[in-house]
Amino acid sequence: MNGPLIVQSDKTLLLEVDHELADACRRAIAPFAELERAPEHIHTYRLTPLGLWNARAAGHDAEQVVDALVQYSRYPVPHALLVDVAETMSRYGRLTLTKHPAHGLVLSSTDRPVLEEILRSKKVQPLVGARIDPDSVVVHPSERGQIKQTLLKLGWPAEDLAGYVDGEAHPIELDESGWALRPYQAQAVEGFWHGGSGVVVLPCGAGKTLVGAGAMAQAKATTLILVTNTVSARQWKHELVKRTSLTEDEIGEYSGTKKEIRPVTIATYQVLTTKRKGVYPHLELFDSRDWGLIVYDEVHLLPAPVFKFTADLQARRRLGLTATLVREDGRESDVFSLIGPKRFDAPWKEIEAQGYIAPADCVEVRVDLTDSERLAYATAEAEEKYRFCATTDSKQRVTEALVRRHAGEQTLVIGQYIDQLDELGEHLDAPVIKGETSNAQREKLFDAFREGEISVLVVSKVANFSIDLPEATVAIQVSGTFGSRQEEAQRLGRVLRPKADGHEARFYSVVARDTIDQDFAAHRQRFLAEQGYAYRIMDAHELLTTGGDDLTAGEDDPAPA
């Protein structure tokens, strides 16, 4: 017994990365355990019911799970845990949703008491129809998503074998001239297609768009793509035209400004969730064509109403793309039941090791506030505190100094508060992109940044998602949405795209010392630290007094007392 894995009684699995069997072990446990933290030495996985059901959905059985745990475990695995795994996994698939030739959608069970139990639930009753025989019951086709969601909450997840409609066929091919799908992208497409529907988890910058394109080429059917905003929509379109056989005319944009419906339509969440007089006027989009595939970009941001619509689309193939399944609202189980189980994931560090994303050096810069600022902070109203400490002059000065230090490198300054950004833009003589900037203007600025005409760009949170800035090598974040972890992940993603010269990316967080800014920063960074992107913490005065060379060697700097 000297395996790389330690199974804890609280259902976490600790994997020692440096162990010779670590890779084999990782492959064995990845199907059923969720990677929770991946710092440098010991990775933490967690056994959750969702994870175990994911594994069941992917065709693994309890025996395999137990075998993997027992085989690689360093210490004997707690018996109770093994029993629990078997018990949890056996809950999946006792209920199945199938298509019955005569009755349509049918919920049937191999275990009659379970069926009786769930039929007695008040939440299930309105979703089902007549009892066909003791083991099956009719489900209204429109409630397919709803019942899956409800059953998951009751702890009896249903296996959906009712299949998918093919949708309207439309020829789509990948145009792999001069590039090819990376191995992990191909695996992700394969994993998704094999499973029918589900979520692919890839780090920012790892080419999720191409996974979407690959899935479309598999489906060869009309596709609806849901993205977060218009800029992102344009980028999808640009990428699809470049990478596939699709032409501009085949791709429609459905947003606040344009309402095109074409074989491949890209719509924004915002337009879908616009409500007028109590109704969602743009919902007909879902029914406007016989879609064969629906792609959800940034699944972790999927707004609640979209979940509701998605529940009605259970007969279509659904692909979710995201960098993290962490949802700040904790609706991971809705993603599981409505979009599908996780079909593929790869830890960031692994893809970085393969050279597909750039390594990044994350530095938290602690700024000492001046005495007067501290006093003002101490007396500020509770709701104003974060805004105050996030936008102090001291931070502005440090930020400007950092930009100057990296003069000549493509630098993004990212922040939350518009007046802070305006001021920074003014001081740095850099354009500011914010909510009121028109789309045309945004794209013009982005192009200029890409071409290197501008080297510093100040962006508000509108640029958090899906903008593609290949040559950004330095990102400085000055303020954020409180402690949002996924925002932090997105922002880091801005600089992770591989650089032409292989230069290491740099990600600065400027933080006011001894304020809630610091607490929020700690919360945000925890996600990255757990992904293996550990922050170094520097004092601002030290950073500004030392030379740039010391900075790169900062790893060995003794921390200032």
Binding site: M1, I6, V7, Q8, S9, D10, T12, L14, E16, R37, P39, E40, H41, I42, T44, S73, R74, Y75, P76, P78, H79, D514, R526, A529, E530, A534, Y535, R536, I537, G554, E555, D557, P558, A559, P560, A561
Partner: protein, 878 residues
């Protein structure tokens, strides 16, 4: 030693070898208390009801069935007759093979004596096991024809004979014999039954396996009348009828039991696992057990929860402990009781009683792991306190609290030992389902399993008429019915299995190698328990084998075996590690159990996030501050981490420690009694420099503030004495104007005068006093009268209660039982009312006299201690 047939049990005992006698005494240790004077005394004692009940309760199913068969067989009973009763007319090879051993076992326990052709069941055992209307026998057989027809008119018996087709006889005795002969004759009986109406056969089928009683109306239906006419049903009381034993035996083809169980239920299906795997699983569980107990001690380190007034731990505290130990309440109760049994926690005995760790716990914590385990197991094996009952209510409806009173269940060690012994009979690494073990245990002690342990099977009062005449429809399936699992022994066995797993004595249900050594080995007092594959595996008919395997270990033995087992366990326990892995996400992972000092230091510096084989610690500003508060400096902490981490200390962690240390102690808090403030720094310096100010214990906190350890008034006086002119200041900073204030006490009442003597009594008081005195006087004189009477020789004064010493009372009673002569007793009932009664004692046992009371004309029981005295009656008195 004579070869003649022994006539009594005592005589037979006399012919037994010393080894046989030793076996008897080992099997029935109650006979040894006190050591009997001679064999007659031993035989008498072996025949007492209490002792026989005890011995019968310890019989296994087949021996019990054999004894039951003997009880319904003629006395004495030749072996072939017994064999026929057990195996039936058709014969049963398994029964035939097992029977000699069962008889030998009964004989060894002195429940059966006599040679094989004249087997005799000890009379008390016979009484216990013979069916009566009140105590239907498990055989489901009714009384014999002779018993059932006793008191029947001779004419009626002759009618029955005639109906059964037998010639008339001259007297009832021969008539009964003829009827019995018919019923016992298989051929003639079969012929008789062939003529029976179908409904009658159905009725017989219902009564066949018992209970043999049925109710009839005044005008029985034709088929019942047919049976009654032929004596196949005999009256038993006003409206009840009974199927006579001989008829039932005929219908059962001679079998006394529906299903004789000659062989113990097999322990299967067995699941074989790699013994190494089992040992490892058990070892890891053993380690977890240690960690859990340790955690409990740590949780209560600064004092545990309070003791309930009735003793024990409150439900809320139990819940809290369960949460702290990250387990369920029943398991928390187990850990608590285990620590209590091992002497690691106890009540502190203060006025405000709380639980706390004992000094022994300190020593325990210092021991190596395997010795700590040995201590726990040695406490567990012989413990009678059963945490399993915590949370339930006892017979009196009191809730049973963990660590509280009334948790002792005396069969616990025996059952525990037996369960482990049974597991040890399986090949290494093999486990069996719980129900297989339970049914085996039930087979070994059928009576113990059947009786709830709270109710001792005491002598029941004589029945008032034939007991609950069970309707014939509730026919006999008691033997075939599913066995209950909620009796005390089964539950004890279930708890044992759970607890053994928790303690790491078993692993994945199989007894681990170190668990095996926990049992008595051949070198110890008893016979080998390990080779004992069945209770009667040894051909030598030495019943003590069972007893030996069933006798639980004494605490001393348990300690010895636990130490032996721990030695085997030691190499399997995970080796403590002396390093952790530090990570940039501010966690530290200890990839195994940490050495104690390291674990303790780390527990202060970081919060434990996940436990198990490894431990995950998380560093937070609060945890680092805790370490700084504990007196460590930042440099020490850095040094500590560098020394014990196998990986470099990550920069964020080093920064965190320094950052917290930077702020640590920035604010200082202290106590001062008064202060001096002055805008003039120089003046304060002057005061501090003045030697007379030393007594005021001043300290300069800031240029313009001095703190003093003396009260403001003294400080004022002191400063004035030094020639300064200080002014007092209020809390708000205003100058206080000091003025001499008059001093007053709080509100007080004036003293009341103290008179010389008590006040004169009033009328009511006087009257009450006189009444009380008179009553007391009356009571005293009434008491004195019988006491004044001559005690020994003089016959008791008519009307006075007889008074004798308790020894005399007992002797007279026992004599009266033997001679069945009535006696005159004085008796005081539970309310204290004295009465005299004339009784004819039937039985004296257990401090009670069962007697026919002539005064009230019924059979009653009297506690001996309530009998004030006894005297024999003149012959003509009744």
């Amino acid at each position: 030693m004579t070869t003649a047939t022994p006539r009594t049990l005592a005589e037979e005992l006399r012919t037994r070898s010393d080894r046989g006698l030793a076996g008897l005494l080992r099997a029935r240790p109650d006979l040894l208390n006190p050591v009997p004077g001679d064999l007659t005394q031993l035989a008498t004692r072996a025949g007492t009801r209490a002792s026989v009940v005890r011995a019968v309760e310890r019989l296994d199913t087949f021996a019990l069935q054999t004894a039951e068969a003997l009880a319904i067989a003629p006395d004495p009973c030749p072996y072939p007759t017994l064999a026929a009763l057990m195996a039936g007319d058709a014969g049963n090879a398994a029964v035939a093979a097992a029977l000699p051993r069962a008889v030998a076992a009964l004989r060894a326990q002195a429940l059966v004596w006599g040679p094989d052709d004249r087997l005799r069941l000890v009379r008390t055992a016979r009484e216990l096991l013979t069916p009566s209307p009140a105590r239907p026998s498990p055989t489901g057989l009714g009384p014999t024809v002779a018993e059932a027809t006793a008191g029947m008119s001779p004419g009626r018996i002759q009618e029955i004979l005639a109906a059964a087709g037998l010639p008339a006889t001259h007297d009832p005795v021969s008539a009964v014999a003829a009827l019995t002969g018919l019923f016992c004759d298989r051929v003639r009986m079969a012929a008789l039954l062939d003529t029976a109406p179908a409904e009658a056969v159905a009725v017989l089928d219902k009564l066949l396996w018992g209970p043999p009683y049925g109710a009839v109306t005044d005008r029985p239906a034709a088929h019942l009348q047919w049976l009654l006419d032929r004596g196949l049903l005999l009256p038993a009381g006003a409206r009840n009828v009974v199927l006579p034993r001989e008829a039932a035996l005929h219908l059962r083809a001679g079998r006394a039991h529906h299903t004789p169980e000659p062989v113990p239920p097999a322990l299967d299906p067995a699941t074989a696992r790699d013994p190494k795997l089992v040992d490892n699983a058990a070892a890891s569980q053993a380690f977890t057990a240690l960690a859990t107990v340790e955690e409990l001690l740590k949780e209560w380190d600064l004092g545990g929860p309070p003791v309930l007034r009735a003793g024990g731990l409150s439900v809320r505290d139990l819940k809290r402990t369960a949460v702290a130990l990250d387990t369920t309440e029943p398991l928390a109760a187990f850990w608590l009781e285990l620590a209590y049994a091992a002497g690691l926690i106890a009540s502190d005995g203060e006025a405000d009683e709380r639980y706390a760790a004992t000094p022994a716990a300190e020593d325990w914590l210092q021991l190596p792991d395997h010795q700590r385990w040995a201590a726990l197991v040695a406490a567990w094996l012989p413990a009678t306190r059963t945490p399993g009952v915590v949370g339930t209510a006892d017979a009196k409806g009191r809730a049973l609290a963990a660590l509280g009173p009334h948790l002792d269940r005396s069969p616990a060690p025996e059952v525990r030992h037996r369960v482990l012994t049974l597991l040890a009979t399986l090949p290494p690494g093999t486990s069996v389902p719980e129900r297989a073990l339970l049914s085996r245990l039930r087979w070994e002690r059928p009576l113990r399993a059947a009786t709830p342990a709270t109710q001792p099977p005491a002598a029941s009062p004589p029945p008032q008429g034939p007991a609950q005449a069970a309707p014939p429809s509730t026919a006999a399936d008691s033997a075939a019915g599913p066995a209950p699992t909620d009796d005390l022994r089964s539950r004890l066995a279930q708890w044992t299995l759970v607890e053994a797993e928790l303690l790491g004595v078993t692993g994945r249900g199989a007894l681990a190698t170190h668990g095996r050594t926990l049992l008595r080995t051949t070198g110890d007092t008893g016979p080998s328990a390990e080779t004992d594959t069945g209770p009667r595996a040894e051909t030598d008919a030495d019943a003590s084998t069972i007893a030996g395997a069933l006798t639980p270990l004494t605490p001393a033995e348990a300690t010895a075996t636990a130490v032996r087992a721990a030695a085997l366990l030691a190499p399997l326990l995970p080796e403590p590690v002396d390093h952790v892995l530090l990570q940039a996400d501010l966690t530290a992972v200890a990839p195994g159990p940490l050495r104690r000092p390291l674990a303790e230091a780390l527990a202060v510096l970081a919060d434990i996030e996940s436990k198990g084989g490894a431990t995950v610690y998380r560093f937070t500003p609060a945890s680092v501050r805790r370490a700084l508060d504990a007196g460590r400096s930042a440099a020490e902490l850095q040094e500590f981490l560098t020394t014990h981490s196998r990986t470099p200390v990550p920069q964020p962690l080093a920064y965190l420690i320094d950052d917290v240390a930077r702020k640590h102690g920035q604010l200082r808090v202290g106590a001062a009694s008064a202060y001096v403030r002055c805008d003039d720094d120089a003046l304060l310096s002057e005061i501090l420099a003045d030697r007379r100010a030393a007594a005021l214990r001043l300290r300069r906190l800031a240029p313009t503030v001095l703190a003093a350890q003396t009260a403001p008034e003294q400080l004022l006086d002191g400063l004035r004495a030094m020639g300064y002119a200080p002014a007092a200041e209020s809390a708000a900073g205003d100058v206080l104007v000091a003025r001499a204030d008059s001093y007053r006490t709080p509100p007080r009442t004036a003293p009341t005068p103290v008179p010389d003597g008590p006040p004169p009594p009033d009328r009511t008081l006087l009257e009450a006093a006189v009444r009380a005195i008179r009553a007391g006087d009356l009571a005293a004189t009434a008491e004195r009268k019988p006491a004044a009477a001559p005690a020994d020789t003089a016959p008791p004064t008519p009307g006075a209660l007889p008074r004798t010493t308790s020894a005399e009372t007992l002797a007279t009673m026992q004599a009266a039982v033997l001679t069945s002569s009535p006696v005159w007793i004085g008796y005081v009932n539970a309310d204290g009312a004295a009465s005299q009664r004339v009784i004819a004692p039937v039985r004296v046992e257990g401090g009670y006299v069962t007697a026919y009371d002539h005064t009230s004309d019924e059979v009653r029981t009297y506690p001996l201690h309530r009998i004030t005295g006894v005297s024999e009656l003149a012959d003509d008195a009744v």
